[in-house]
Subunit: 311 residues, 3 copies
Amino acid sequence: MTAGRIICFLTDYGQADEFVGIVHRVIAGIDPGLPVIDITHQIPRHDVRAGALTLWRSAPWLGPGVILGVVDPGVGTRRRSVAFEVADANTTFVGPDNGLLLPAATRLGPITIAVELGTGEFGPVSGATDPRSRTGATFAGRDIFAPAAARLAMGTPIRALGPLVDPATLMGEPVPRPEPAVREGKPAVLAEVLWIDQFGNLQLNAGPDDVTNLGDASPVQAAPPHAAPPHAVPPHAVAVHAAGRTREARIVDAYGDLAPGELGLVIDSYGLLSISLNSASAAAVLVGVAAGTPVWLTQGAAGMAGAARPT
Amino acid sequence: MTAGRIICFLTDYGQADEFVGIVHRVIAGIDPGLPVIDITHQIPRHDVRAGALTLWRSAPWLGPGVILGVVDPGVGTRRRSVAFEVADANTTFVGPDNGLLLPAATRLGPITIAVELGTGEFGPVSGATDPRSRTGATFAGRDIFAPAAARLAMGTPIRALGPLVDPATLMGEPVPRPEPAVREGKPAVLAEVLWIDQFGNLQLNAGPDDVTNLGDASPVQAAPPHAAPPHAVPPHAVAVHAAGRTREARIVDAYGDLAPGELGLVIDSYGLLSISLNSASAAAVLVGVAAGTPVWLTQGAAGMAGAARPT
Amino acid sequence: MTAGRIICFLTDYGQADEFVGIVHRVIAGIDPGLPVIDITHQIPRHDVRAGALTLWRSAPWLGPGVILGVVDPGVGTRRRSVAFEVADANTTFVGPDNGLLLPAATRLGPITIAVELGTGEFGPVSGATDPRSRTGATFAGRDIFAPAAARLAMGTPIRALGPLVDPATLMGEPVPRPEPAVREGKPAVLAEVLWIDQFGNLQLNAGPDDVTNLGDASPVQAAPPHAAPPHAVPPHAVAVHAAGRTREARIVDAYGDLAPGELGLVIDSYGLLSISLNSASAAAVLVGVAAGTPVWLTQGAAGMAGAARPT
């Protein structure tokens, strides 16, 4: 068995109903030997952006194989059902064409081929053994996406699953990459808040590698024993400009490395920076900062983390 | 590997405790290659009817194979542990003899053979490797049902698992089928509310095929693009008689097809009709209608959906 | 395939995030054929004791194979990552060295070999295919524990995974065993409350076999039809001495065997005694009794269950 046969499965179905189980059963009915891994089924109902970000940050660990994602507020409308491949990552995506899958895919590489599912001779199927199960509305996860994912995992060529569509017409935006910028005459990185977690940490779209060239690479503390290998950026001070204020922060590897009240840019286990406070909500302090807010990062002043000034 | 080896598993155990995992481990200890698919473990505690209806509506997608269901308020009483087979569907059911399994089974076909589990030489087993694990009360899922399900999935003949019992003595009632009837002198279908979901939709035991002969098959709108193949019934108007009132409704494929305030009979992805309002609770409007309430359906007046009169 | 290849997996990750799925994917990426069984992922966040007790009571049903447990409030500190083996049970444990795993392991037998994970040449790995995934903090479940568990399940010798450590230096205490004692001049067993469940039952570290020699083995009622085989202890009366009071109780196989108000020692499906009331909270009655409270059990007076006196 090869890893290319693995299906990773994410939805907003929840686990109280039988929907997740039925999708698993449809796949197993096509090939009981296919590994199907539940990433999560607790994406908030119909929250395409939350599902897209979860897949985006997980993507480097999910391939090669098939990524089956269903968060689908537009089911029953004219949105397309699609499958598309990122050849560089040997990974195929299956789901609604609504922006859920595109950010994860484009993180892994260019989309090399895309097809529309569920049309014409490739229309919905039913795994049902009982003729009474003829349905009105299509349960796309069960009738379109699961069969497609199973066949892709078994090695069916993607072009056998439906008519080709132009990858450029797929819905969704890549997660924005941080950009080089200039702020108050100094080299800067223009980042963005991706989301705010339940603890009030503000996850940025930038990692430590993105801030290595701000002019201050001098370590301000020794790396703790659990730090990543030397390719990681040494901790240093960064100034965070957002929502009209500038705040000093320190890049650290763990929340616990922060002193009380000290603002940090914590490098999380996905390699992304979170604006954080130790045991407190950074979001409550950074008034006016929300998902999508632009954030400029410039060289900071060592030892000043937590200090703030209007900008 | 064949689909007949697949075990579908439903309980009210929840997932906070280790019970679901231990049942999986017992099965894997007998044959680590058996696919075991979790349908749901969040059936409300001891709610046999909720579990039975979930299995009943899922049943066409769960076979062939073994369906292991445990919602068991009577554990430790004289209720029997059973396994029984529906030969037409190549599907075997394992669980308590309390009505949980019978509706799903009889939907698939007549029960062809049944045995009692856990008696005499077929008594409880323990997968435990530690002699301290000798137990007082039997954990039936672990000690009786899981071993039986595993052996059935491996191909052990059902009669090797316990003494035969008469299928006619199994507990439970089939989910009632809608019946032809006459209402106010017109052809009618007598249906029943199966359950009311969290959104206030009233799921009936009738599908669109059950209302094709009410005298009005004329479409009142074109089928939307996501509609099922032509064997599905075209949308038409139906009068809903329940709890002393008659209301006009329209059969549609999706909640979104209903206008605000318009009462609908939405065909869900199981092929059943739900009395529904778009973004509102139909149950709140149909005062006096509960699970089990009889509902008569007769030909409706196109364009009148939502109108109501005493009946 | 053999049962020794099975990985049982327990964490406090919850299932709303993608962490559980990513650990599964890392294991499947190493060998897609390894069975990985979720015991639970809903251990309360950072509650090492709750996780340890869950593993301890489940342990007899989880082996042989690999038990992967991660409840890790000390991640990022100097606590060790370890793997160790109980040769008697053909079971290997993988996780943080913080007391989570030791109680379950020592229940199964002496720890025969232990190694430290994640150091030097055995350092963290990354299953990521994307160079952007270089991380700051290590996600130990993904980068250290999952790869080690997979390799152990595949048959890699434990000493290939890291430097040997002395099993005697592993953190954690075995769950205390009940001890013979004397109370008010009579033979007694000194037990301890392990935990109080959500229903107010007080689970002891003693089973019915531990109280067979208190001097009263005479049954006070016939065994109900669902009782375990004859090796189980016949029901009898026990006096419970805890927090300064003595209460009479009766050993029964099910909560339902207790009369209203009658105090029971219910033998649960793990073979442990719980101080319980039928449909009421025993913890609310036994004021001052908490997890860790010592409890002496002596011969009781048949027919007096529920009676109490200062002790």
